[in-house]
């Protein structure tokens, strides 16, 4: 800056007024900063809140599903009442609280190992606690000598997903019967 150039002089402004003006300028800046800070905190807080709600919502849904599966497994029960080794038919009833879906029915000699889940009875639903029973025909029978084990795998009906056998297996339970 050149030494001949002076700042403009304002005859009406006293040093006190000058200080006040300077102070007001600083106050404006502080207020703006506070507003910005407030807005930032609120924005971040709302975002965090939203994220938390999303997380809680997701967790709740997963927990609900998991507990639903666990509770349903406690509520199902299937019993094999009678078996015909002539026609490979079984008669089963459901004294449990939830409906069940039968996913596998096998008849194998007791001396052989279990063939496991065979997915050979698609979507056979047995209603709960109606006092009735249902015939499951054409169970898969393995050759051999008696006695035979009849093995029926079932899951809670509302968890049955025909497109996802591996997930069905996770909720499956077994009922067995010895036929001579």
């Amino acid at each position: 800056m050149s030494p001949n150039i002076h700042p403009p002089h304002h005859p009406s402004t006293t040093p006190k007024t000058q200080r006040h003006a300077d102070s007001k300028k600083r106050g404006d800046t502080t207020l703006l900063g506070e507003i910005l800070l407030f807005a930032g905190v609120v924005t971040l807080g709302v975002a965090l809140w939203g994220l938390s709600l999303g997380y809680v919502s997701t967790q709740s849904t997963q927990l609900s599903k998991e507990y639903d599966r666990m509770i349903a497994q406690q509520r199902i029960l299937l019993i094999i009442e009678a078996v015909s080794l002539q026609s490979n038919t079984i008669w089963a009833s459901n004294p449990g609280i939830n409906d069940v879906a039968v996913i596998s029915c096998t008849i194998y000699p007791k001396s052989h190992p279990s063939p496991g889940i065979r997915y050979n009875t698609p979507s056979t639903i047995i209603a709960a606690s109606t006092g009735g029973f249902k015939a499951i025909r054409s169970c898969e029978k393995y050759p051999g000598t008696p006695p035979y084990i009849v093995e029926v795998w079932y899951i809670p009906a509302h968890l049955y997903d025909p497109r996802d056998p591996s997930r069905n297996v996770m909720s499956a339970q077994v009922a067995r019967y010895e036929a001579r």
Binding site: V41, V42, G45, S52, E81, S84, S87, W91, P95, G96
Partner: protein, 386 residues
């Protein structure tokens, strides 16, 4: 302050509800576990005794009553949803349907009596009754014999005995009992396969008083009376209770000893000083009429050795004991050592078993069974010496 307020808001609107929700789910699950445990304990506590009771009426067409007595031995009320009547022999429900479909309540310590003869009309065989309870337990009665829809236990006061003498080995003999008029018997037929020549068997049948015709079949064909020494007719007729025994005597089949095929199995070549095994096998022709017991000592004593073997090195172990017709077995397994040749020229061992008059003995007849002779030669090769 705003941050704190938001943090508190997040805490109260997300974490607390999540905690409360999780706790509620866990409580629900715990309640369900408890309920299941109570249901399982109740199921395990159920105890039902099932007995079959009937009025025994030997005359067909008369009053016929078969009842199930259900006795609740548990401290809980038991409701049977269904009762199945199972055909034990065929492992299938009689009529492919439950016998009783109406729920039956039985108080703790109480009895209940149910008529079930309607499920067994015309049924013959062993039946078992299975009750299914509302809680999902199965209780079964002991199997009972039902004949023509009637309870058979204790039905027959007499025993009809049928004997067959001098059966031919391998043949199947069937006795058919045909009751006349009101007479009844159980079973109506029995099939027996003779496992030895001239075998005898006696069979018993529960019967009421009355007249019966007894048929003897051999391999499904009625035996002609000319083949019988006694009685003169087939079928024979008996009337209980005065006559209770029938004896079919078939012409005796002569057992002729056949020659057993004896074979020596030994290696073709052995090295000098080497120990090797020799098997003596016996084959009994399929036409033989009985099983035979091998005379190991006779065969062992008949083994003849010649040539380059080490003297005193023969040691035989008996293996097979009994030969059935058509069977081949190793009778003896012998160990022998070849001699040390002390030279370059090969040696020879000759093993011979001559014809034996009693290589085995018939188990039924006690007759001696001869065997043919056999011999084999074994080349002994010298070992290369360094």
């Amino acid at each position: 302050m705003v941050g704190v307020a938001i943090a508190i808001a997040i805490f109260f609107t997300t974490l607390i509800p999540l905690y409360v929700y999780t706790s509620t789910l866990y409580n629900l699950y715990s309640n369900e576990l408890n309920s299941r445990r109570i249901r399982d304990i109740d199921r395990a506590t159920e105890s039902l005794e099932i007995a079959v009771e009937g009025k025994i009426t030997p005359i067909p067409g008369t009053d016929n009553q078969i009842r199930l007595i259900l006795k609740n031995l548990s401290p809980l009320m038991i409701r049977t949803q269904r009762i199945w009547a199972m055909d034990v022999e065929r492992a299938t429900p009689i009529g492919d349907d439950p016998c009783i479909r109406t729920p039956i309540d039985i108080p703790p310590g109480g009895n209940n009596s149910i008529h079930i003869h309607q499920c067994l009309t015309g049924f013959t065989g062993r039946a078992q009754f299975i009750a299914v309870t509302e809680r999902g337990r199965l209780f079964a009665s002991a199997p009972v014999l039902i004949i023509g829809g009637r309870l058979a236990s204790g039905l027959y006061p007499y025993t009809l005995t049928v004997s067959i003498v001098n059966m031919k080995r391998g043949n199947q003999y069937t006795i058919l009992v045909s009751p006349e008029r009101d007479a009844d018997t159980q079973p109506r037929s029995v099939t027996y396969k003779a496992t030895a020549s001239n075998e005898n068997v006696s069979l018993s049948f529960g019967a009421t008083a009355g007249t019966f015709r007894i048929y003897l079949l051999e391999n499904g064909v009625l035996v002609h009376p000319t083949r019988l020494i006694a009685p003169r007719t087939n079928p024979a007729e008996v009337t209980l209770p005065d006559y209770w025994n029938v004896v079919f005597i078939l012409a005796r089949t002569e057992v002729t000893p056949l020659t057993i095929d004896l074979e020596i199995i030994a290696p073709a070549r052995v090295l000098e000083g080497e120990s090797f095994s020799i098997d003596i096998t016996l084959s009994l022709p399929a036409q033989a009429g009985e099983n035979v017991r091998i005379n190991h000592d006779a065969i062992r004593n008949a083994i003849g050795l010649a040539g380059d073997f080490e003297a005193g090195s023969l040691y035989c172990l008996p293996l097979g004991d009994v030969l059935t017709p058509g069977m081949t077995t190793i009778a003896l397994r012998c160990q022998l050592s070849a001699a040390d040749l002390r030279g370059n020229s090969p040696g020879l061992i000759t093993v011979t078993v001559p014809s034996l008059s009693a290589a085995a003995t018939g188990i039924d007849s006690g007759l001696p069974y001869p065997s043919d002779s056999d011999s084999t030669s074994i080349t002994v090769r010298p070992q290369r010496r360094g």
